[in-house]
Amino acid sequence: MTKIIVAATNKGGDGKTKTSILLAEYLTIIKKKRVLAIDLDPQCNFSHKFLDMEIDPVESQGKMPPIHPSYTEEKKINPEWNGRSSIADIFYGESVLPYSTHLNLLDIAPGYAMKLLEAEAVRKSEVRNKVHHQLHLFISDPTLQEAYDIVLIDTAPSKGPLTVSAVKAASHIVIPSQMEQNSIHGIYGMLQLWKQEALQRDKSYPLELIGILPNKIRDVNLHKDLLNELRQAEFIGDYVMEDKLKLRSIYAEFDAEESNSDSIFNLSDKNVAREEAMKVCDFIYKKVFPND
Protein backbone atom coordinates (compact mmCIF):
# COMPACT_ATOMS: atom_id res chain seq x y z
CA MET A 1 0.00 0.00 0.00
CA THR A 2 1.30 3.43 -0.92
CA LYS A 3 2.60 5.40 2.07
CA ILE A 4 1.51 8.98 2.35
CA ILE A 5 3.83 11.32 4.20
CA VAL A 6 2.69 14.82 5.10
CA ALA A 7 4.89 17.63 6.36
CA ALA A 8 2.63 19.95 8.26
CA THR A 9 2.55 22.72 10.81
CA ASN A 10 0.38 25.79 10.96
CA LYS A 11 3.33 28.16 11.48
CA GLY A 12 5.06 29.47 8.34
CA GLY A 13 8.80 29.16 7.74
CA ASP A 14 9.27 26.14 9.99
CA GLY A 15 10.51 23.80 7.25
CA LYS A 16 7.56 22.02 5.67
CA THR A 17 8.73 22.61 2.11
CA LYS A 18 12.37 21.96 3.01
CA THR A 19 11.43 18.62 4.60
CA SER A 20 9.26 17.71 1.60
CA ILE A 21 12.07 18.51 -0.85
CA LEU A 22 14.67 16.58 1.15
CA LEU A 23 12.39 13.57 1.39
CA ALA A 24 11.47 13.69 -2.32
CA GLU A 25 15.15 13.68 -3.26
CA TYR A 26 16.22 11.13 -0.65
CA LEU A 27 13.46 8.68 -1.50
CA THR A 28 14.11 8.80 -5.24
CA ILE A 29 17.92 9.24 -5.35
CA ILE A 30 18.97 7.17 -2.34
CA LYS A 31 16.09 4.71 -1.88
CA LYS A 32 14.98 4.44 -5.51
CA LYS A 33 11.31 4.67 -4.60
CA ARG A 34 8.61 5.85 -6.99
CA VAL A 35 7.34 9.09 -5.52
CA LEU A 36 4.47 11.42 -6.29
CA ALA A 37 4.96 14.90 -4.83
CA ILE A 38 1.81 16.87 -4.12
CA ASP A 39 1.88 20.57 -3.42
CA LEU A 40 -1.09 21.88 -1.45
CA ASP A 41 0.58 25.15 -0.49
CA PRO A 42 -0.71 28.08 -2.60
CA GLN A 43 2.82 29.52 -2.46
CA CYS A 44 3.79 26.56 -4.73
CA ASN A 45 7.46 26.54 -3.64
CA PHE A 46 7.55 22.73 -3.54
CA SER A 47 6.26 22.67 -7.14
CA HIS A 48 8.72 25.33 -8.20
CA LYS A 49 11.64 23.22 -6.96
CA PHE A 50 10.90 20.51 -9.51
CA LEU A 51 8.93 22.34 -12.19
CA ASP A 52 9.24 25.65 -14.00
CA MET A 53 6.14 27.23 -12.61
CA GLU A 54 4.67 30.23 -14.37
CA ILE A 55 3.34 33.46 -12.98
CA ASP A 56 -0.42 33.56 -13.16
CA PRO A 57 -1.38 36.70 -15.10
CA VAL A 58 -4.71 36.87 -13.26
CA GLU A 59 -3.36 36.34 -9.75
CA SER A 60 -0.35 38.66 -9.53
CA GLN A 61 1.39 36.83 -6.68
CA GLY A 62 0.22 33.42 -7.75
CA LYS A 63 1.96 30.67 -9.59
CA MET A 64 0.47 28.17 -11.99
CA PRO A 65 1.79 24.98 -13.56
CA PRO A 66 3.35 25.15 -17.03
CA ILE A 67 1.67 23.63 -20.07
CA HIS A 68 1.85 19.87 -19.64
CA PRO A 69 4.24 18.04 -22.03
CA SER A 70 1.40 15.70 -23.01
CA TYR A 71 -0.92 18.60 -23.87
CA THR A 72 -0.89 18.06 -27.63
CA GLU A 73 -1.75 14.40 -27.33
CA GLU A 74 -4.23 14.83 -24.51
CA LYS A 75 -6.04 17.63 -26.32
CA LYS A 76 -7.14 15.15 -28.94
CA ILE A 77 -8.98 13.21 -26.26
CA ASN A 78 -10.08 16.17 -24.16
CA PRO A 79 -10.30 19.29 -26.37
CA GLU A 80 -11.55 21.47 -23.50
CA TRP A 81 -8.42 20.98 -21.40
CA ASN A 82 -6.28 24.12 -21.09
CA GLY A 83 -3.07 22.12 -20.77
CA ARG A 84 -2.32 22.92 -17.13
CA SER A 85 -2.84 20.23 -14.53
CA SER A 86 -2.62 20.79 -10.80
CA ILE A 87 -3.58 18.98 -7.63
CA ALA A 88 -6.18 21.73 -7.08
CA ASP A 89 -8.18 20.17 -9.93
CA ILE A 90 -9.37 17.39 -7.64
CA PHE A 91 -11.42 19.97 -5.72
CA TYR A 92 -13.15 20.96 -8.95
CA GLY A 93 -14.05 17.43 -10.02
CA GLU A 94 -11.33 17.29 -12.69
CA SER A 95 -8.64 14.68 -13.21
CA VAL A 96 -4.96 15.29 -12.49
CA LEU A 97 -2.09 14.54 -14.82
CA PRO A 98 1.19 14.55 -12.86
CA TYR A 99 4.32 16.07 -14.40
CA SER A 100 7.63 14.23 -14.75
CA THR A 101 10.63 15.91 -13.13
CA HIS A 102 14.39 15.86 -13.64
CA LEU A 103 14.48 13.04 -11.08
CA ASN A 104 13.53 9.83 -12.85
CA LEU A 105 11.37 8.38 -10.13
CA LEU A 106 9.72 11.61 -9.07
CA ASP A 107 6.47 12.95 -10.49
CA ILE A 108 4.71 16.01 -9.21
CA ALA A 109 1.11 17.15 -8.98
CA PRO A 110 1.87 20.85 -8.62
CA GLY A 111 -0.11 23.55 -6.91
CA TYR A 112 -2.11 26.24 -8.67
CA ALA A 113 -2.22 29.26 -6.38
CA MET A 114 -5.57 30.71 -7.41
CA LYS A 115 -7.43 27.40 -7.33
CA LEU A 116 -5.87 26.31 -4.04
CA LEU A 117 -6.72 29.64 -2.42
CA GLU A 118 -10.32 29.21 -3.52
CA ALA A 119 -10.49 25.70 -2.07
CA GLU A 120 -8.84 26.92 1.14
CA ALA A 121 -11.41 29.70 1.47
CA VAL A 122 -14.37 27.32 1.42
CA ARG A 123 -16.59 28.00 4.41
CA LYS A 124 -19.85 26.21 3.72
CA SER A 125 -19.71 23.06 5.83
CA GLU A 126 -20.93 20.61 3.17
CA VAL A 127 -18.38 21.83 0.62
CA ARG A 128 -15.66 21.91 3.27
CA ASN A 129 -16.39 18.26 4.12
CA LYS A 130 -15.98 17.38 0.45
CA VAL A 131 -12.63 19.18 0.30
CA HIS A 132 -11.55 17.29 3.43
CA HIS A 133 -12.10 13.92 1.80
CA GLN A 134 -11.22 14.69 -1.80
CA LEU A 135 -7.48 14.13 -1.53
CA HIS A 136 -7.98 10.79 0.24
CA LEU A 137 -10.26 9.66 -2.59
CA PHE A 138 -7.72 10.80 -5.18
CA ILE A 139 -4.83 8.94 -3.51
CA SER A 140 -6.94 5.82 -2.91
CA ASP A 141 -7.34 5.37 -6.66
CA PRO A 142 -5.90 1.92 -7.51
CA THR A 143 -4.04 3.28 -10.58
CA LEU A 144 -2.24 5.81 -8.42
CA GLN A 145 -1.53 3.21 -5.71
CA GLU A 146 -0.07 0.98 -8.40
CA ALA A 147 2.12 3.73 -9.85
CA TYR A 148 3.78 5.09 -6.68
CA ASP A 149 5.39 3.72 -3.53
CA ILE A 150 5.13 7.00 -1.68
CA VAL A 151 3.10 10.17 -1.91
CA LEU A 152 4.67 13.26 -0.34
CA ILE A 153 2.43 16.16 0.51
CA ASP A 154 3.59 19.68 1.28
CA THR A 155 0.99 21.82 3.02
CA ALA A 156 0.19 25.46 3.60
CA PRO A 157 1.00 27.05 6.97
CA SER A 158 -2.57 26.75 8.23
CA LYS A 159 -5.09 24.36 9.70
CA GLY A 160 -7.56 25.11 6.92
CA PRO A 161 -9.43 22.68 4.65
CA LEU A 162 -6.37 21.89 2.51
CA THR A 163 -4.21 20.89 5.48
CA VAL A 164 -7.11 18.91 6.93
CA SER A 165 -7.48 17.10 3.61
CA ALA A 166 -3.74 16.26 3.66
CA VAL A 167 -3.94 14.94 7.22
CA LYS A 168 -7.01 12.88 6.36
CA ALA A 169 -5.19 11.32 3.42
CA ALA A 170 -1.91 10.74 5.28
CA SER A 171 -0.49 7.56 6.73
CA HIS A 172 2.41 9.44 8.38
CA ILE A 173 2.87 12.96 9.55
CA VAL A 174 6.04 14.85 10.33
CA ILE A 175 5.99 18.21 12.09
CA PRO A 176 9.02 20.38 11.37
CA SER A 177 9.54 23.15 13.88
CA GLN A 178 12.02 25.78 14.90
CA MET A 179 12.84 25.83 18.58
CA GLU A 180 11.13 29.12 19.17
CA GLN A 181 8.04 30.00 21.14
CA ASN A 182 5.66 30.67 18.23
CA SER A 183 6.80 27.55 16.40
CA ILE A 184 6.18 25.39 19.46
CA HIS A 185 2.68 26.84 19.63
CA GLY A 186 2.41 25.71 16.00
CA ILE A 187 3.31 22.16 17.08
CA TYR A 188 0.41 22.24 19.51
CA GLY A 189 -1.99 23.30 16.77
CA MET A 190 -0.81 20.50 14.52
CA LEU A 191 -0.93 17.90 17.30
CA GLN A 192 -4.57 18.83 17.85
CA LEU A 193 -5.25 18.11 14.19
CA TRP A 194 -3.35 14.82 14.43
CA LYS A 195 -5.28 13.84 17.58
CA GLN A 196 -8.63 14.68 16.02
CA GLU A 197 -7.86 12.53 12.99
CA ALA A 198 -6.11 9.71 14.88
CA LEU A 199 -9.10 9.24 17.20
CA GLN A 200 -11.46 8.93 14.26
CA ARG A 201 -9.25 6.86 11.99
CA ASP A 202 -9.90 3.19 11.22
CA LYS A 203 -7.40 1.22 13.33
CA SER A 204 -6.28 -0.81 10.34
CA TYR A 205 -5.09 2.40 8.71
CA PRO A 206 -3.69 4.53 11.55
CA LEU A 207 -2.25 8.00 11.22
CA GLU A 208 1.23 7.70 12.63
CA LEU A 209 3.10 10.66 14.00
CA ILE A 210 6.70 10.23 12.83
CA GLY A 211 7.82 13.03 15.08
CA ILE A 212 8.74 16.63 15.54
CA LEU A 213 11.72 17.59 13.41
CA PRO A 214 13.85 20.34 14.99
CA ASN A 215 14.72 22.69 12.15
CA LYS A 216 16.95 25.77 11.63
CA ILE A 217 18.77 24.99 14.85
CA ARG A 218 21.57 27.33 15.85
CA ASP A 219 24.05 26.96 18.64
CA VAL A 220 22.27 29.42 20.89
CA ASN A 221 20.81 29.00 24.37
CA LEU A 222 17.27 29.64 23.21
CA HIS A 223 17.31 26.71 20.77
CA LYS A 224 19.23 24.38 23.08
CA ASP A 225 17.05 25.07 26.12
CA LEU A 226 13.74 24.76 24.31
CA LEU A 227 14.82 21.58 22.55
CA ASN A 228 15.98 20.04 25.83
CA GLU A 229 12.81 20.99 27.58
CA LEU A 230 10.66 19.54 24.80
CA ARG A 231 12.67 16.32 24.82
CA GLN A 232 12.25 15.93 28.56
CA ALA A 233 8.50 16.60 28.58
CA GLU A 234 6.29 13.59 29.29
CA PHE A 235 4.83 11.78 26.21
CA ILE A 236 5.72 14.53 23.71
CA GLY A 237 9.43 13.99 24.47
CA ASP A 238 9.24 10.55 22.81
CA TYR A 239 8.21 12.20 19.57
CA VAL A 240 11.00 14.77 19.32
CA MET A 241 13.43 13.45 16.70
CA GLU A 242 16.99 12.81 17.83
CA ASP A 243 18.44 14.27 14.63
CA LYS A 244 17.96 17.86 13.63
CA LEU A 245 18.49 20.20 10.70
CA LYS A 246 20.75 23.12 11.43
CA LEU A 247 20.32 26.57 9.94
CA ARG A 248 22.38 26.46 6.74
CA SER A 249 22.56 28.69 3.68
CA ILE A 250 23.12 25.66 1.46
CA TYR A 251 19.38 24.96 1.31
CA ALA A 252 18.70 28.45 -0.04
CA GLU A 253 21.55 28.05 -2.51
CA PHE A 254 19.96 24.89 -3.87
CA ASP A 255 16.68 26.74 -4.21
CA ALA A 256 18.29 29.34 -6.47
CA GLU A 257 17.16 29.17 -10.11
CA GLU A 258 20.53 27.98 -11.40
CA SER A 259 20.71 25.09 -8.96
CA ASN A 260 17.27 23.56 -9.34
CA SER A 261 18.58 20.49 -11.07
CA ASP A 262 20.89 19.56 -8.22
CA SER A 263 20.32 17.88 -4.87
CA ILE A 264 21.98 17.89 -1.49
CA PHE A 265 22.18 14.10 -1.81
CA ASN A 266 24.51 14.45 -4.80
CA LEU A 267 27.11 16.19 -2.63
CA SER A 268 30.10 14.34 -1.25
CA ASP A 269 29.44 11.80 1.50
CA LYS A 270 31.50 13.89 3.89
CA ASN A 271 29.48 17.06 3.41
CA VAL A 272 28.01 17.94 6.82
CA ALA A 273 24.71 19.21 5.38
CA ARG A 274 24.26 16.00 3.39
CA GLU A 275 25.19 13.90 6.40
CA GLU A 276 22.65 15.74 8.54
CA ALA A 277 19.89 15.43 5.92
CA MET A 278 20.69 11.73 5.49
CA LYS A 279 20.26 11.08 9.22
CA VAL A 280 16.92 12.85 9.33
CA CYS A 281 15.64 11.12 6.19
CA ASP A 282 16.94 7.72 7.34
CA PHE A 283 15.01 8.13 10.58
CA ILE A 284 11.81 9.05 8.75
CA TYR A 285 12.30 6.20 6.27
CA LYS A 286 12.67 3.64 9.05
CA LYS A 287 9.48 4.90 10.66
CA VAL A 288 7.57 4.58 7.39
CA PHE A 289 9.16 1.32 6.22
CA PRO A 290 10.16 -0.46 9.46
CA ASN A 291 10.71 -3.75 7.63
CA ASP A 292 13.00 -2.46 4.85
Partner: protein, 336 residues
Amino acid sequence: MTKRKKFGISKTLTNSLSQTVKVASNNMGVLRHEIVPIDLIELDPCNPRTFLIQKDDIISGLEHNDYLYDKKRREIDSLESLKNSIIKQGILNPVWIYKYKTHYRLIMGERRVLASLLAGNSDIHAKVLESRPLDTSLRLLQWMENLERSDLTLWERITNINLIIEAQQKETPDLKVNATFIKNLLGCSLPHAMNYFAVVFCSQDLRDSIQGGKINNLEKAALLANINDKDVFKEVYTLCISGASLKHLQAMIRTKKLKSHTNSVLRGNVSKGANFKTINLGFCKSSDVIKKITDILLKDNLCAEHANCFENLDWRNNSEISKAFKSFIAKLEVQK
Protein backbone atom coordinates in the same frame (compact mmCIF):
# COMPACT_ATOMS: atom_id res chain seq x y z
CA MET B 1 30.94 37.74 33.89
CA THR B 2 27.48 37.81 32.31
CA LYS B 3 24.86 35.46 33.64
CA ARG B 4 23.68 32.75 31.16
CA LYS B 5 20.15 33.36 30.01
CA LYS B 6 17.80 30.42 30.57
CA PHE B 7 14.87 29.80 28.23
CA GLY B 8 11.89 27.53 28.69
CA ILE B 9 8.47 26.51 27.42
CA SER B 10 5.55 27.56 29.61
CA LYS B 11 4.18 24.85 31.87
CA THR B 12 0.73 25.24 30.34
CA LEU B 13 2.05 24.66 26.83
CA THR B 14 4.22 21.69 27.87
CA ASN B 15 1.27 20.10 29.68
CA SER B 16 -1.02 20.71 26.72
CA LEU B 17 1.48 19.14 24.32
CA SER B 18 1.93 16.13 26.60
CA GLN B 19 -1.78 15.64 27.19
CA THR B 20 -2.57 15.86 23.47
CA VAL B 21 0.01 13.20 22.62
CA LYS B 22 -1.13 10.99 25.50
CA VAL B 23 -4.82 11.18 24.57
CA ALA B 24 -4.13 10.57 20.88
CA SER B 25 -1.73 7.66 21.49
CA ASN B 26 -4.05 5.92 23.93
CA ASN B 27 -7.24 6.33 21.97
CA MET B 28 -6.41 5.71 18.32
CA GLY B 29 -9.57 4.94 16.39
CA VAL B 30 -12.01 5.17 19.28
CA LEU B 31 -14.01 7.97 17.71
CA ARG B 32 -14.40 6.41 14.33
CA HIS B 33 -17.83 7.54 13.20
CA GLU B 34 -19.28 7.30 9.74
CA ILE B 35 -22.48 7.79 7.85
CA VAL B 36 -23.30 4.28 6.68
CA PRO B 37 -26.01 3.16 4.22
CA ILE B 38 -28.65 1.24 6.17
CA ASP B 39 -28.62 -1.31 3.33
CA LEU B 40 -25.19 -2.41 4.50
CA ILE B 41 -26.23 -2.95 8.12
CA GLU B 42 -27.41 -6.38 9.20
CA LEU B 43 -29.31 -6.68 12.48
CA ASP B 44 -27.54 -8.98 14.94
CA PRO B 45 -29.38 -12.33 14.83
CA CYS B 46 -27.96 -13.19 18.29
CA ASN B 47 -29.30 -10.09 20.02
CA PRO B 48 -31.69 -11.41 22.69
CA ARG B 49 -33.98 -8.45 21.96
CA THR B 50 -35.84 -9.88 19.03
CA PHE B 51 -38.07 -7.61 17.02
CA LEU B 52 -40.48 -9.43 14.80
CA ILE B 53 -40.21 -6.72 12.18
CA GLN B 54 -37.20 -6.77 9.94
CA LYS B 55 -35.80 -4.08 7.67
CA ASP B 56 -37.64 -5.56 4.68
CA ASP B 57 -40.99 -5.22 6.45
CA ILE B 58 -40.43 -1.47 6.51
CA ILE B 59 -38.83 -1.13 3.09
CA SER B 60 -41.43 -3.24 1.27
CA GLY B 61 -44.32 -2.73 3.69
CA LEU B 62 -46.16 -5.30 5.81
CA GLU B 63 -48.08 -8.00 4.01
CA HIS B 64 -51.67 -8.41 5.18
CA ASN B 65 -51.51 -12.19 4.86
CA ASP B 66 -48.53 -12.32 7.23
CA TYR B 67 -49.74 -14.32 10.25
CA LEU B 68 -47.69 -11.98 12.48
CA TYR B 69 -49.23 -8.89 10.89
CA ASP B 70 -50.91 -7.57 14.06
CA LYS B 71 -47.82 -7.99 16.25
CA LYS B 72 -45.58 -6.43 13.64
CA ARG B 73 -48.01 -3.55 13.22
CA ARG B 74 -47.85 -2.91 16.96
CA GLU B 75 -44.07 -2.94 16.86
CA ILE B 76 -44.05 -0.42 14.04
CA ASP B 77 -46.47 1.77 15.99
CA SER B 78 -44.17 1.60 19.01
CA LEU B 79 -41.41 3.17 16.89
CA GLU B 80 -43.58 6.14 15.93
CA SER B 81 -42.27 8.61 18.52
CA LEU B 82 -38.64 7.70 17.77
CA LYS B 83 -39.32 8.11 14.06
CA ASN B 84 -40.74 11.61 14.65
CA SER B 85 -37.74 12.55 16.77
CA ILE B 86 -35.37 11.37 14.02
CA ILE B 87 -37.27 13.41 11.44
CA LYS B 88 -36.99 16.53 13.63
CA GLN B 89 -33.55 16.16 15.21
CA GLY B 90 -31.83 13.25 13.53
CA ILE B 91 -30.13 10.43 15.43
CA LEU B 92 -28.99 11.77 18.80
CA ASN B 93 -26.64 8.87 19.53
CA PRO B 94 -24.91 6.95 16.76
CA VAL B 95 -25.65 3.24 16.46
CA TRP B 96 -22.73 0.85 16.98
CA ILE B 97 -21.70 -1.50 14.20
CA TYR B 98 -18.77 -3.71 13.35
CA LYS B 99 -17.35 -4.83 10.03
CA TYR B 100 -18.76 -8.22 9.06
CA LYS B 101 -17.62 -9.72 5.74
CA THR B 102 -18.70 -7.28 3.04
CA HIS B 103 -21.11 -5.33 5.21
CA TYR B 104 -21.69 -4.29 8.81
CA ARG B 105 -23.43 -6.01 11.69
CA LEU B 106 -25.31 -4.09 14.33
CA ILE B 107 -24.18 -4.10 17.96
CA MET B 108 -26.53 -1.50 19.41
CA GLY B 109 -29.32 0.54 17.92
CA GLU B 110 -31.89 -1.82 16.38
CA ARG B 111 -34.77 0.56 17.13
CA ARG B 112 -32.84 3.55 15.74
CA VAL B 113 -32.10 1.67 12.51
CA LEU B 114 -35.72 0.60 12.04
CA ALA B 115 -37.07 4.03 13.01
CA SER B 116 -34.63 5.72 10.60
CA LEU B 117 -36.01 3.58 7.80
CA LEU B 118 -39.52 4.54 8.86
CA ALA B 119 -38.39 8.18 8.78
CA GLY B 120 -37.38 7.66 5.16
CA ASN B 121 -33.61 7.79 5.75
CA SER B 122 -31.34 5.59 3.70
CA ASP B 123 -28.21 6.08 5.82
CA ILE B 124 -27.40 6.42 9.50
CA HIS B 125 -24.74 7.87 11.79
CA ALA B 126 -22.71 4.94 13.18
CA LYS B 127 -19.72 4.28 15.37
CA VAL B 128 -17.71 1.69 13.48
CA LEU B 129 -15.66 -0.98 15.25
CA GLU B 130 -13.03 -2.80 13.28
CA SER B 131 -14.12 -6.27 14.33
CA ARG B 132 -16.67 -8.08 16.42
CA PRO B 133 -16.19 -7.19 20.09
CA LEU B 134 -15.45 -9.98 22.56
CA ASP B 135 -18.57 -11.95 23.46
CA THR B 136 -18.69 -10.49 26.95
CA SER B 137 -18.38 -6.90 25.76
CA LEU B 138 -20.91 -7.46 22.98
CA ARG B 139 -23.50 -8.95 25.31
CA LEU B 140 -22.92 -6.30 27.95
CA LEU B 141 -23.33 -3.56 25.34
CA GLN B 142 -26.57 -5.13 24.17
CA TRP B 143 -27.70 -5.48 27.78
CA MET B 144 -27.08 -1.80 28.45
CA GLU B 145 -28.86 -0.89 25.26
CA ASN B 146 -31.79 -3.17 26.02
CA LEU B 147 -32.14 -1.86 29.57
CA GLU B 148 -33.25 1.46 28.12
CA ARG B 149 -36.33 -0.20 26.75
CA SER B 150 -39.58 -0.41 28.65
CA ASP B 151 -40.97 -3.16 26.41
CA LEU B 152 -38.23 -5.67 27.09
CA THR B 153 -39.73 -8.95 28.30
CA LEU B 154 -38.44 -10.86 31.32
CA TRP B 155 -37.49 -13.73 29.02
CA GLU B 156 -35.39 -11.35 26.87
CA ARG B 157 -33.69 -10.00 29.97
CA ILE B 158 -32.77 -13.37 31.42
CA THR B 159 -31.69 -14.66 28.00
CA ASN B 160 -29.43 -11.64 27.79
CA ILE B 161 -27.95 -12.37 31.23
CA ASN B 162 -27.52 -16.02 30.30
CA LEU B 163 -25.57 -15.00 27.20
CA ILE B 164 -23.35 -12.70 29.25
CA ILE B 165 -22.68 -15.49 31.77
CA GLU B 166 -21.91 -17.99 29.00
CA ALA B 167 -19.51 -15.51 27.39
CA GLN B 168 -17.80 -14.89 30.73
CA GLN B 169 -17.54 -18.62 31.42
CA LYS B 170 -15.89 -19.15 28.05
CA GLU B 171 -13.27 -16.59 29.01
CA THR B 172 -12.92 -17.81 32.62
CA PRO B 173 -13.92 -21.48 32.92
CA ASP B 174 -13.56 -21.54 36.76
CA LEU B 175 -15.88 -18.60 37.14
CA LYS B 176 -18.24 -18.84 40.14
CA VAL B 177 -21.60 -17.45 39.22
CA ASN B 178 -23.59 -16.17 42.19
CA ALA B 179 -25.74 -13.17 43.04
CA THR B 180 -22.71 -11.02 43.84
CA PHE B 181 -21.24 -11.84 40.43
CA ILE B 182 -24.47 -10.77 38.75
CA LYS B 183 -24.57 -7.64 40.92
CA ASN B 184 -21.06 -6.66 39.80
CA LEU B 185 -21.77 -7.60 36.21
CA LEU B 186 -24.91 -5.56 35.83
CA GLY B 187 -24.17 -2.86 38.37
CA CYS B 188 -27.49 -3.43 40.11
CA SER B 189 -28.36 -3.84 43.82
CA LEU B 190 -27.75 -7.18 45.55
CA PRO B 191 -31.48 -7.93 46.13
CA HIS B 192 -32.14 -7.27 42.42
CA ALA B 193 -29.17 -9.47 41.47
CA MET B 194 -30.47 -12.21 43.80
CA ASN B 195 -33.78 -12.12 41.96
CA TYR B 196 -32.00 -12.44 38.61
CA PHE B 197 -29.81 -15.24 39.96
CA ALA B 198 -32.87 -17.18 41.15
CA VAL B 199 -34.69 -16.77 37.84
CA VAL B 200 -31.69 -17.45 35.57
CA PHE B 201 -31.20 -20.81 37.30
CA CYS B 202 -34.88 -21.69 37.91
CA SER B 203 -36.68 -24.92 36.99
CA GLN B 204 -37.53 -25.72 33.37
CA ASP B 205 -41.28 -25.39 34.07
CA LEU B 206 -40.85 -21.89 35.35
CA ARG B 207 -38.55 -20.99 32.44
CA ASP B 208 -41.20 -22.21 30.01
CA SER B 209 -43.79 -20.00 31.68
CA ILE B 210 -41.48 -17.00 31.48
CA GLN B 211 -40.65 -17.70 27.85
CA GLY B 212 -44.32 -18.07 27.03
CA GLY B 213 -44.98 -14.67 28.57
CA LYS B 214 -47.17 -16.04 31.39
CA ILE B 215 -44.84 -14.48 33.96
CA ASN B 216 -43.19 -11.19 33.06
CA ASN B 217 -42.37 -9.81 36.49
CA LEU B 218 -38.91 -10.44 37.90
CA GLU B 219 -39.92 -10.31 41.58
CA LYS B 220 -42.81 -12.71 41.08
CA ALA B 221 -40.63 -15.09 39.09
CA ALA B 222 -37.91 -14.96 41.75
CA LEU B 223 -40.48 -15.62 44.47
CA LEU B 224 -41.63 -18.73 42.62
CA ALA B 225 -38.08 -19.82 41.86
CA ASN B 226 -37.27 -19.79 45.58
CA ILE B 227 -40.15 -22.08 46.62
CA ASN B 228 -38.91 -25.60 47.35
CA ASP B 229 -42.19 -27.22 48.30
CA LYS B 230 -43.91 -28.53 45.16
CA ASP B 231 -47.44 -28.14 46.54
CA VAL B 232 -46.84 -24.59 47.68
CA PHE B 233 -45.22 -23.79 44.31
CA LYS B 234 -48.24 -25.12 42.46
CA GLU B 235 -50.66 -23.08 44.51
CA VAL B 236 -48.65 -19.86 44.30
CA TYR B 237 -47.97 -20.39 40.60
CA THR B 238 -51.68 -20.77 39.84
CA LEU B 239 -52.40 -17.60 41.76
CA CYS B 240 -49.56 -15.78 40.01
CA ILE B 241 -50.67 -16.48 36.46
CA SER B 242 -54.23 -15.57 37.38
CA GLY B 243 -52.89 -12.05 37.97
CA ALA B 244 -52.36 -11.88 41.75
CA SER B 245 -50.19 -9.05 42.99
CA LEU B 246 -46.69 -9.58 44.40
CA LYS B 247 -47.92 -8.64 47.89
CA HIS B 248 -50.70 -11.18 47.62
CA LEU B 249 -48.26 -13.90 46.61
CA GLN B 250 -45.86 -12.99 49.42
CA ALA B 251 -48.71 -13.07 51.95
CA MET B 252 -49.74 -16.47 50.70
CA ILE B 253 -46.24 -17.86 51.10
CA ARG B 254 -46.03 -16.45 54.63
CA THR B 255 -49.32 -18.16 55.52
CA LYS B 256 -48.08 -21.42 54.06
CA LYS B 257 -44.86 -21.21 56.03
CA LEU B 258 -46.70 -20.41 59.27
CA LYS B 259 -49.05 -23.30 58.72
CA SER B 260 -46.18 -25.63 58.08
CA HIS B 261 -44.37 -24.36 61.19
CA THR B 262 -47.50 -24.84 63.37
CA ASN B 263 -47.91 -28.39 62.10
CA SER B 264 -44.33 -29.13 63.02
CA VAL B 265 -44.80 -27.79 66.54
CA LEU B 266 -47.95 -29.88 66.96
CA ARG B 267 -46.07 -32.94 65.80
CA GLY B 268 -43.45 -32.14 68.45
CA ASN B 269 -40.57 -32.19 66.08
CA VAL B 270 -39.73 -28.56 66.07
CA SER B 271 -36.10 -27.79 66.41
CA LYS B 272 -34.86 -24.22 66.13
CA GLY B 273 -31.32 -23.03 65.74
CA ALA B 274 -28.05 -24.92 65.90
CA ASN B 275 -27.37 -27.64 68.52
CA PHE B 276 -25.56 -26.42 71.64
CA LYS B 277 -22.23 -28.05 72.29
CA THR B 278 -21.97 -26.72 75.86
CA ILE B 279 -24.46 -26.26 78.70
CA ASN B 280 -25.10 -22.86 80.13
CA LEU B 281 -25.96 -23.18 83.80
CA GLY B 282 -27.48 -19.76 83.89
CA PHE B 283 -26.80 -16.72 85.97
CA CYS B 284 -27.38 -16.01 89.60
CA LYS B 285 -27.27 -12.71 91.48
CA SER B 286 -27.22 -14.18 94.97
CA SER B 287 -24.01 -15.68 96.31
CA ASP B 288 -26.05 -17.26 99.13
CA VAL B 289 -27.93 -19.38 96.60
CA ILE B 290 -24.65 -20.48 95.05
CA LYS B 291 -23.18 -21.31 98.44
CA LYS B 292 -26.27 -23.39 99.22
CA ILE B 293 -25.91 -25.30 95.92
CA THR B 294 -22.21 -25.82 96.61
CA ASP B 295 -22.84 -27.17 100.09
CA ILE B 296 -25.37 -29.66 98.70
CA LEU B 297 -23.01 -30.73 95.94
CA LEU B 298 -20.08 -31.23 98.27
CA LYS B 299 -22.08 -33.73 100.26
CA ASP B 300 -21.72 -36.04 97.28
CA ASN B 301 -18.55 -38.15 97.50
CA LEU B 302 -17.43 -37.51 93.91
CA CYS B 303 -17.88 -33.79 94.23
CA ALA B 304 -16.30 -33.70 97.65
CA GLU B 305 -12.99 -34.72 96.08
CA HIS B 306 -12.83 -31.27 94.54
CA ALA B 307 -13.88 -29.28 97.59
CA ASN B 308 -10.50 -27.54 97.48
CA CYS B 309 -11.88 -25.41 94.60
CA PHE B 310 -13.93 -23.55 97.16
CA GLU B 311 -11.39 -23.38 99.99
CA ASN B 312 -10.70 -19.87 101.35
CA LEU B 313 -13.23 -18.46 98.88
CA ASP B 314 -14.53 -14.94 99.48
CA TRP B 315 -18.28 -15.55 99.03
CA ARG B 316 -18.86 -11.83 98.55
CA ASN B 317 -16.72 -11.72 95.42
CA ASN B 318 -18.82 -12.86 92.41
CA SER B 319 -15.81 -13.07 90.11
CA GLU B 320 -13.99 -15.46 92.46
CA ILE B 321 -17.13 -17.57 92.87
CA SER B 322 -17.46 -17.84 89.05
CA LYS B 323 -13.82 -18.88 88.67
CA ALA B 324 -14.13 -21.45 91.43
CA PHE B 325 -17.24 -22.95 89.86
CA LYS B 326 -15.62 -23.10 86.41
CA SER B 327 -12.64 -24.89 87.91
CA PHE B 328 -14.91 -27.27 89.83
CA ILE B 329 -16.90 -28.20 86.69
CA ALA B 330 -13.72 -28.60 84.64
CA LYS B 331 -12.35 -31.07 87.22
CA LEU B 332 -15.63 -33.00 87.27
CA GLU B 333 -15.52 -33.25 83.45
CA VAL B 334 -11.98 -34.66 83.58
CA GLN B 335 -13.00 -37.09 86.32
CA LYS B 336 -15.86 -38.30 84.16
